[in-house]
Subunit: 219 residues, 2 copies
């Protein structure tokens, strides 16, 4: 859903967007909703004809900027399939959280505390310019911050200052005002934004839905 | 510092407060600042004569309500010394975070992801009524939320509804408005508030100080 939300919004803004998958015909052949009750991809594709579905490697070649919106555990294999050579020098926007549903609900994190998914991706693809962002809210708020009233915050972390400027530009296209964007520094700060997820999940349960965010308030 | 901040503020509000320690004379004999540069206890004690320093067990007997403001790793031994029988039936307010500085800065958490310090305390003292709160901000903001302008949030987690009401009363005494208090449910929600600490530490470094907090903003 996160990938679809970002792809649809980016296409709507006039970007040339493809979605990568393992086997295109398998993804397109699914007719049942997924485990979360989301409609099958084919249904979404019909409503979003501008977004082409292609194999991971083709998506790796196509993208000037790559978004990792896989489920956490699938991130490294998907990016490997996209091709390390295709990622080299490019901005890789990592919006994923390393959620582990294998022990049931609520999910735990498959990596945390002394490492993070953002760091794992940067280490696995040292020539990619990884920027962690948008992983602290649901897919709707990511691409339309006005769904939540008033001021609220989006975080950035990454080693490459120019890559972070590129990502800030995308965030502004989505509607994020400059003062909402908090740059936390290098990619190790991805730990904090990923480890916020258990609090997000508690708030989701408490508030009865995902259309919320946090605002950092400073003295 | 968290314990001193809470003890001083509670005494100022008219509560009868004691601070527990392992060996009173050793605590009082220290003359050097601690590792964080905080002045020795004796200096604070002179400025706060209403707050008596007593052995943990005496603090356990004295308190109608017990606050755990130890460093994370010291929590269970300190509460053990306070005495399980003394804690039985009482509200135990856990404001600590299980920070592990043994690998240097930034600290990691000594427990997280599938467990939390709050849950460990509740399991170790099943007859205590543990409430996790205030661990998502610095000691100054805890007891004086007006240090941070505008609206911002304090979380509660615990199994005992009446204990949470008691703690809400204390929070209101500190100046927290009703709408700032978000009850996240049972004690497992302590995981989320403790795992927020790495993001708090990133924000501390980014903002250049600890006088900040987060506000949950809902659609």
């Amino acid at each position: 859903m996160v990938g679809r939300g970002l792809a649809g919004r980016l296409a709507g803004l006039g970007h040339d967007v493809v979605v990568g998958t393992r086997v295109v015909e398998e993804t397109r052949a699914r007719t049942d909703p997924d485990a979360m009750g989301n409609p099958p991809y084919a249904e979404w594709e019909q409503a979003n004809p501008a977004v082409r579905l292609v194999p991971f490697a083709e998506a790796g070649v196509h993208g000037e900027l790559i978004v990792n919106a896989t489920a956490g555990a699938g991130a490294l294999p998907a990016l490997e399939a996209a091709g390390a050579a295709n990622l080299a020098g490019k901005v890789v926007v990592d919006v994923a959280n390393p959620l582990d549903f294998s022990q049931g609900m609520p999910p735990s994190l498959s990596v945390c505390n002394t490492d993070s998914l953002g760091e794992q991706i940067q280490r696995a693809f040292p020539d990619a310019r990884v920027v962690k962002t948008l992983n602290t809210m649901n897919a709707h708020v990511m691409v339309d911050p006005s769904r939540v009233p008033g001021r609220h915050t989006v975080f950035l972390a990454g080693e490459d200052a120019a890559a972070k400027e590129t990502v800030k530009g995308l965030l502004r296209e989505f509607g994020w005002p400059e003062e909402a964007i908090v740059d936390l520094g290098g990619i190790p700060a991805a730990r904090g934004t990923e480890m916020y997820l258990p609090l997000w999940l508690s708030l989701y349960a408490t508030l009865g839905g995902g259309d919320f965010n946090i605002q950092v308030v400073k003295a």
